[in-house]
């Protein structure tokens, strides 16, 4: 290494040198991150101790001593004393389709498979021929609804046969896709210059936010009948979908209003000065920025809504959690709460983790350099 502590170079001509040896490399990284200070070292050893205590036992229970093929809990116990996954294996189909007639289940599967390209087209702008396929995403809800509910040539399936993963997805996906646009409209209404608009939106948001979702679901299941003219039948699932959507929309509106408030006044003024109309400046200038800021909050609301779908159990609808709990009541499988709850937890974790990762991807993609 050349010695540059003494100035043996002309001013302004200092050569670029590689960083000192002991600043880079994996061993330096490990040293710095795990043993860099006394606290770090203590925490490192504590973590190692905890992992050593927990992981082997957990692996034994979950994997090495677990049983996949058995007819009942008693059979499981004869084979090994780990997790009895046989209950999940036996109940797997039911956990997804609940009481949906077996010979019609292909329709649900088809609707589910079609969900993937739809979500792909909507969420990833690198999707091939995206602009043209956008029409398909608009048609999807109708296609899926037709496939699942039936009619027009398909055997109708009553919604009280719905349940399990399928019900969770129906409520979750509907709530998520509808609450975003409704939330945007409510947020814009709440900051609108028109007093009547503002009052209506504030009243709606505050009312819905001030009431627990459970209460709204009870209203959906019982009281709504009193408000409807006699003789009008209104599907329970539809009522639940409306309530969940309204509930999430109120939260969404507040998250988005937070984003809207972070947009400097100058952005509105520049848009106005250029002659853009209200909806143009909202759509092209204000909302893209406000929504970007609100992504963490929006996804947070999505995840909350998705998990809140389990609450429908109290008005008699059986989502994944509900349907799996029926397995616990089955005398054959009585006494296996761990397996059932772990399975349900994994299902929710995978869905929610995917949403969370997508939000990170989106935030990175939308980052356009330093803001001033």
């Amino acid at each position: 290494m050349t010695d540059v502590t003494e100035q043996n170079y002309p001013p302004g001509k200092h050569p670029s040198l590689p960083p000192p040896r002991n600043m880079t490399g994996w061993h330096v990284w490990i040293w710095k991150n795990f043993f860099g200070s006394i606290t770090n070292t203590v925490l490192t050893f504590l973590s190692i101790f905890l992992i050593w205590q927990i992981v082997p036992g957990a692996l034994d229970f979950l994997v090495f001593d677990s049983v996949v093929n058995a007819g009942s809990r008693a059979e499981c116990r004869e084979i090994a004393d780990g997790a009895c996954w046989a209950v999940i294996v036996e109940r797997f189909e039911q956990s997804i389709f609940a009481f949906y007639p077996e010979e019609e289940r292909w329709r649900v599967i088809l609707a589910f498979i079609l969900l993937f390209p739809t979500v792909g087209i909507l969420l990833f702008d690198g999707f091939p021929a995206r602009a043209k396929l956008m029409k398909f995403t608009i048609a999807y809800p109708f296609i899926a609804g037709w496939l699942i509910v039936g009619g027009w040539g398909l055997e109708p399936v009553s919604t009280d046969k719905f349940g399990g993963v399928m019900l969770t997805l129906i409520i979750g996906v509907t709530g998520i896709t509808l609450s975003l646009p409704i939330g945007i409209l409510l947020a814009l209404g709440r900051i609108s210059k028109l007093p009547a608009m503002r009052i209506v939106c504030v009243a709606f948001i505050e009312f819905i936010r001030g009431v627990p979702l459970i209460t709204l679901l009870f209203v959906a299941s019982t009281m709504l009948n009193y408000f409807l003219p006699p003789g009008v039948q209104f599907d329970l699932l539809l009522r639940v979908l409306i309530m969940v959507t309204l509930f999430a929309s109120a939260y969404m509106a507040e998250v988005i209003r937070g984003g809207l408030q972070a947009i400097p006044k100058g952005q509105y003024e520049a848009a106005d000065a250029m002659g853009l109309k209200y909806w143009q400046s909202m759509r092209l200038i204000i909302l893209p920025q406000a929504l970007k800021i609100s992504i963490p909050g929006i996804v947070n609301t999505f995840i909350g809504l998705y998990k809140d779908t389990t609450l429908v159990i109290i008005i008699g609808l059986l989502d994944v959690l509900g349907i799996m709990k029926t397995a616990l009541a089955d005398p054959k499988w009585n006494g296996l709460p761990e397996e059932v709850y772990i399975y349900t937890a994994i299902f929710f974790f995978v869905s929610c983790f995917a949403m969370s990762r997508y939000s990170l991807y989106l935030e990175k993609k939308l980052h356009t350099g330093h803001k001033r």
Binding site: E269, A273, T368, G369, H370
Partner: protein, 259 residues
Amino acid sequence: MSEAAIDTSGMKVTDEVVIEIQHMHKWYGEFHVLKNVNLTVNRGERIVICGPSGSGKSTMIRCINRLEEHQQGHILVDGIELTNDLKNIDAIRREVGMVFQHFNLFPHLTVLENCTLAPIWVRQTPKKDAEEQAMHFLSKVKIPDQAHKYPGQLSGGQQQRVAIARSLCMNPRIMLFDEPTSALDPEMISEVLDTMIELAQEGMTMLCVTHEMGFARKVANRVIFMDGGEIIEQNEPEEFFTNPQSERTKLFLSQILNH
């Protein structure tokens, strides 16, 4: 900016009136911010507006494109009166470009998209034509190579030049500038002023709030001094600087010229 004189052959004041402000008053709540403002601007004029902070300079020029609403008097732009009629407001905003102190570029759009947005959505220009035109104006402000960057990746001076190009893309007949250089570091001020001088040389009608007195001397044909919401005096630059009439103007000039 050098002290050399500039070519003024393109700067021609016509006798066509483009902005007429008559007995205009404005209040913010109880606060009487603009008091009986009268101003007539002819096509091709370059007007510099100066005055102490809080004197109502920004408010006045923002009334011209209805970013602020006046409560009394009349404002006519290109013969169209500013009223609550949205059609008139839209028509006037299409004629009037504005450049802000803090640029107000759209950070989520590239420089090129910033420039094509209004032509595409307000003037219904086809995208290709709008892009061609945007590149033309970006070349004019000397940053065509930055077209695909985001505003956050540019220096302050570059951002302000983009903002000027963005306004020009709407082919405005009048340009309003509200302290376009006062958020900039000293070495970037001249690049923005040079762009504005070029615009003036092409005969653009300009109203510019600025304290750059060198710019006023070279480019303006009229300097307006405001204080307390009133136009105190207006004159040709030479006369304004060497022979100010009111005490307040003298005080103001001594304050800004003595440092």
